[in-house]
């Protein structure tokens, strides 16, 4: 640990378990979506919606189960993670239900598929599976350090998960992005789960290699350049993420994949040069692919000038991308500061993927800037609790894992929110917990489960000193 030159010590946290705080916050987090549900119903039909009791009870039941499991099996866990995730999930349900009620979306669905099925019930089911996953993580993973044993296995697993959509017959090409696989009647997005497995691999790998990566380096123009052989892994990861980008047309996953690695490298080695190199490599890769792959090219055109490209678009695909982007921007704009009110916006004009990729536009229109800020703060608080857990964790593996998971979460929010708001080109990723999508909800509940497990270990008071067996047998005669 001789690299440590300027570190801070965090004093011992007093150890109340804070489970009652969590329970109170959870009750609050269930009440808010019920209020939102009532608000949507009153605004759209002028009466109290019929399913309100059902959704409220369902969400409350899920939250109660999760709370009881945390109380029993992770009593010292962070009190904020569960309520924050529950609130986001509940609000997601309300927003999806609200878009289900939209006559425009129903008409589009009837025109395209000759049928319409509401998404809110299935999202409710996915949430239940997500909570089951959360409970499963807490029950099966008694100590997060167990994951350290599976460092290289998780590397293989994550690569397989990432490459599965390319397998012919299994992968499904949905609207240009090949990120789904179809098994039986279900389609799964393996990339969402690969995110978790990758974080496990990176933390296990970097924990062993951090000194080699941090210390064996040459100084060049104020940057520490690592040795060639240490560059191997970062180059491999870069190449793999580019391959995903090229063959799966998925800018988001590729960015996430590479981003987690750079974040964790920086955290493990404290070398700024990794961030500089990572950014340069990401920009170089994105520039090359962005100017060649047509799918990515239309997204870039829609990002640079959404209104202009409505006229200059060369093909239908690009026109669709530009049209979506203009609708999303109009939706944010018409929301203004305070929004139009739940159920009173026109964000359903986005039509395609309005309740998954673009759900944030509904937040922007109906709750306005004030609401968007709340949602970003809620996500920010989850990330903050994750980073705090990493600070408090006592073992290096737990530190890196908590940091990697919260980094992945933060990066995903940046990529989605930035894409929807026109800061960066749009990528096909989902807003965690908020957007419609089974894989996303389930994987993110698992992520919260792992963070809760690490924070429980980190905040648990140190065990009482074990009674020494010699203490009674040995008599010391003092002079």
């Amino acid at each position: 640990m001789s690299v440590v030159t300027n570190t801070t010590t965090i004093g011992a946290i007093e150890a109340p378990s804070r489970r009652n705080t969590e329970l109170a916050l959870l009750a609050f987090a269930v009440a808010i979506p019920v209020f939102a549900y009532l608000n949507v119903g009153l605004a759209m039909d002028g009466k109290v919606p019929a399913g309100m009791l059902g959704y409220g009870l369902g969400l409350g039941l899920l939250a109660a189960v999760a709370h009881l499991v945390v109380r029993k099996w992770a009593p010292y866990a962070d009190p904020l993670l569960l309520p924050l995730a529950t609130l986001l999930n509940g609000m997601g349900l309300v927003l999806i239900w609200r878009l289900d009620q939209s006559p425009r979306l129903i008409a589009t669905s009837m025109r395209l598929y000759k049928s319409f099925s509401p998404d809110a019930p299935s999202q409710m089911m996915y949430s239940a599976v997500g909570i089951a996953m959360f409970v499963g993580v807490l029950l099966l993973l008694k100590d997060h350090r167990v994951l350290q044993r599976y460092t290289y296995i998780s590397m293989v697993v994550s690569l397989v998960l990432l490459l599965l959509p390319l397998v012919p017959g299994l992968g499904a090409d949905v609207f240009g992005a090949k990120i789904w696989i179809r098994i039986g009647g279900f389609s799964i997005q393996p990339g969402e789960f690969a995110k978790l497995v990758l974080a496990v691999f990176f933390s296990g790998y970097l924990m062993v290699k951090r000194d080699a990566l941090a210390l064996a380096s040459r100084r060049f123009m104020g940057l520490y350049l690592p040795r060639g052989r240490d560059l191997g892994p970062i180059l491999t990861i870069w190449a793999v993420s580019l391959l995903i980008l090229v063959f799966e047309n998925d800018l988001g996953t590729s960015l996430l994949f590479f981003g987690i690695f750079v974040i964790m490298l920086y955290v493990a080695t404290e070398r700024t040069s990794w961030i500089v190199m990572g950014l340069l490599m990401a920009v170089a890769g994105a520039a090359v692919v962005g100017s060649t792959a047509s799918h990515v090219k239309s997204r870039v055109a829609a990002w640079l000038d959404p209104f202009g490209c409505l006229e200059t678009a060369t093909d239908q695909n690009m026109l669709n991308a530009c049209d979506q982007m203009t609708q999303v921007l109009m939706s944010f704009g018409s929301g203004g500061i305070l929004g139009t009110g739940l159920g009173q916006g026109n964000s359903d004009l986005i039509q395609f993927a309005a309740n998954s990729d673009f759900i944030f536009a509904t937040v922007g229109e109906e709750l306005g800037l004030a609401g968007v800020m709340v949602f970003l703060l809620l996500y920010g608080l989850i990330v903050e609790r994750g980073v705090r857990t990493a600070l408090a964790a006592r073992d290096p593996f737990g530190k890196l894992l908590a940091m990697g998971l919260s980094g992945a979460f933060a990066l995903q929010i940046f990529v989605v929110a930035g894409g929807v708001m026109g800061l960066i080109p749009l990528t096909g990723m989902t807003m965690p917990f908020l957007a419609y999508g089974g894989s996303s909800v389930i994987a993110n509940w698992a992520l919260i489960g792992i963070l809760i497990r690490i924070s429980d270990t980190a905040r648990r008071p140190a065990p009482a000193p074990a009674p020494s067996p010699d203490a009674e047998m040995t008599q010391v005669v003092r002079p």
Binding site: N6, T8, T9, L25, F35, L80, P83, G339, G341, V476
Partner: protein, 174 residues
């Protein structure tokens, strides 16, 4: 539904959302104000013990008198913190709150010693039933010294007595 009701609901909902965020931030406020964050290593010179002692000596007497009372159940004159006064970790403090403090080179120690003369689990400091702090050597190779004597058994620590492990010296202070 009347326009007014909907407007009130819209603003009310935003207020409720913000209230949740504020409550959540209140819950983690203890992270900002409840723990002590100490810089260590970089400012080795200013963290020398004489400055610390001088600061303590110049503190107004009332304030010093109040400090143990703020701890609640703590006895008068009981130490409230453990300070590293020499070695690579100079300036590090750990609040004494009834928990056991382990010292050694092992990663999971409370104070991780970066010292060639320290064993991986070198010593531990813990309170006995009366709240008296005890130091005990955990069978280390090079020993733990209280003042000048090598410890052979669990020994009560007088306030301000130096405990030496390799090049590191720690002491308990009020």
């Amino acid at each position: 539904m009347s326009e007014l009701t909907l407007t009130v609901m819209r603003l009310g909902f935003l207020a409720v959302l913000w209230l949740f965020v504020i409550v959540a931030v209140q819950v983690i406020r203890s992270d900002l104000f409840g723990t002590r964050v100490t810089q260590r290593g970089s400012r080795r010179q200013d963290a020398r013990p004489q400055q610390n002692t001088r600061q303590q000596a110049t503190a107004p007497p009332q304030q010093r008198g109040q400090q143990p009372a703020a701890g609640g159940r703590q006895r008068r004159g009981a130490p409230t913190k453990l300070v590293v006064s020499e070695g690579t970790l100079t300036g590090t403090t750990v609040a004494l709150q009834g928990q056991t403090i382990t010292l050694g080179r092992a990663h999971d120690s409370t104070i991780v010693l970066d010292d060639d003369y320290a064993s991986s689990r070198h010593a531990r400091i813990y309170p006995d039933r009366d709240g008296q702090w005890i130091v005990e050597d955990l069978g280390s190779t090079n020993g733990t010294y209280l003042d000048r004597t090598r410890l052979t058994t669990a020994t009560p620590i007088p306030l301000g007595a130096p405990i030496r492990i390799g090049k590191t010296v720690i002491e308990l202070r009020k």
